[in-house]
């Protein structure tokens, strides 16, 4: 056996890289599991306002999103240049909100329904009239837990 002939044993053996890929695959899977792919592409441009007191949004699975902003340049032909609301995958009207909230409710189990939060992701240029309309609709729909999305940052 070559191992015992003495001469070869003095060389440092090459590191076995075979398990390296396993380790990295594990890392890969870890990241794949904890990250979420963007579910729907945004049709509206959103630059969130900044705040210093922002907190994290808990329980991601119980959040439904309302996106508000000016349509992206390539969508402007279709949807105009005024701020619009995007629910899930389509541009909608304020009046669609009640159905949207109801749909989101149906998707969750009975026990989770009281904890559904509605996150309003709005561009900072949006006027409050629109946001107020959304809030009024949400009140009517009974979705009272809301969340104003903002990014962390200091004062302007």
């Amino acid at each position: 056996m070559a191992r015992f002939t003495g001469k070869k044993a003095k060389e440092t053996p090459a590191l076995n890289m075979g398990s390296m890929s396993d380790i990295i695959f594990m890392l890969l899977f870890f990241f794949m599991v904890i990250t979420t792919m963007r579910e729907s592409s945004l049709y509206v441009k959103i630059i969130p306002p900044q705040g210093s007191e922002v907190t994290k949004l808990a329980k991601k699975s119980l959040v439904s999103y309302i996106n508000v902003g000016v349509p992206l340049p390539d969508q402007q032909k279709k949807y105009g240049t005024e701020p619009r609301i995007q629910l899930n995958d389509q541009i909608s009207e304020v009046s669609d909100l009640i159905t949207f909230v109801e749909q989101e409710r149906q998707q969750r189990s009975e026990a989770d329904r009281p904890f559904i939060t509605t996150a309003i992701k709005a561009d900072k240029q949006v006027r409050m009239g629109m946001i107020s309309d959304i809030k009024q609709e949400l009140r009517k729909a009974g979705a009272l837990k809301i969340f104003y999305n903002a990014s962390k940052g200091g004062r302007r």
Binding site: M17, G18, M20, S21, I24, F25, L27, L28, F31, M32, I34, T35, T36, M37, R38, P48, P49, G51, S52, E53, V54, T55, K56, L57, K60, V63, V68, T117, A119, A122, D123, K124, Q125, V126, R127, M128, G129, I131, S132, K135, Q136, L138, R139, K140, G142, A143, L144, K145, I146, F147, Y148, N149, A150, S151, K152, R155, R156
Partner: protein, 189 residues
């Protein structure tokens, strides 16, 4: 004897998986949604009069369509809002123009003088969302600071480090007293 098949060189395997890893790291977003959580009031029944609140217990913050602020009756700046709100809610000198306090029994804290003050936030339909969020942010900052102060004096810890029971007590002592009026429609789009 037939020629031995050489072992597959797997050293590049790690490179490939690294590439994959890097790809996923880039395209995925560990979305940490940040923001301010609020609770909307339930819709009011039609024929119920809103409860009457005494004038000294209200601090009106108005934001017009040009994003200018009005505190009660005078113009104000966003920088001053936090201190004004703190002064109003805390009422340290028991000023008669500042909100009343009501002694309440709170578990863990004993009898605490809970302020009856309410900050009334009114905005125009033309106010920008940015400004609105700044105002909300300042008001939250005021309340957070007051809660922090109380938590440090009573429990020796920051508000965020308290356990559930303690933070509940603090919440009761310093409630999130922000009320939003129905938006008015004066000019603007």
């Amino acid at each position: 004897m037939a020629r031995k098949t050489p072992g597959l060189n797997t050293s590049s395997m790690s490179d490939i998986s690294f590439l994959l890893l890097a790809f996923f790291l880039m395209v995925s977003n560990i979305n940490s949604d940040m923001g301010l959580a609020r609770k909307l009031p339930p819709p009011l029944p039609e024929n119920v009069e809103p409860p009457e609140v005494r004038e000294r217990n209200i601090f009106v913050v108005m934001v017009n369509k040009d994003d200018r602020l009005l505190f009660n009756t005078e113009y104000g700046r966003i920088e001053d809002l936090k201190d004004r709100a703190k002064e109003f809610l805390g009422n340290p000198n028991n000023d008669i123009h500042m909100p009343e306090k009501q002694a309440t029994e709170i578990p863990l804290l004993g009898t605490y003088e809970v302020s009856k003050g309410v900050i009334s936030l009114r905005n125009d339909r033309g106010t920008s969302y940015d400004m609105y969020l700044q105002v909300q942010n300042e008001l939250t900052a005021a309340i957070n600071e007051m809660r922090n102060e109380l938590a440090t004096t009573r429990f020796g810890k920051r508000y965020t480090d308290l356990n559930e029971e303690q933070s509940k007590a603090i919440d009761q002592a310093i409630p999130m007293a922000i009320s939003e009026a129905e938006p008015t429609k004066i000019g603007g789009k």
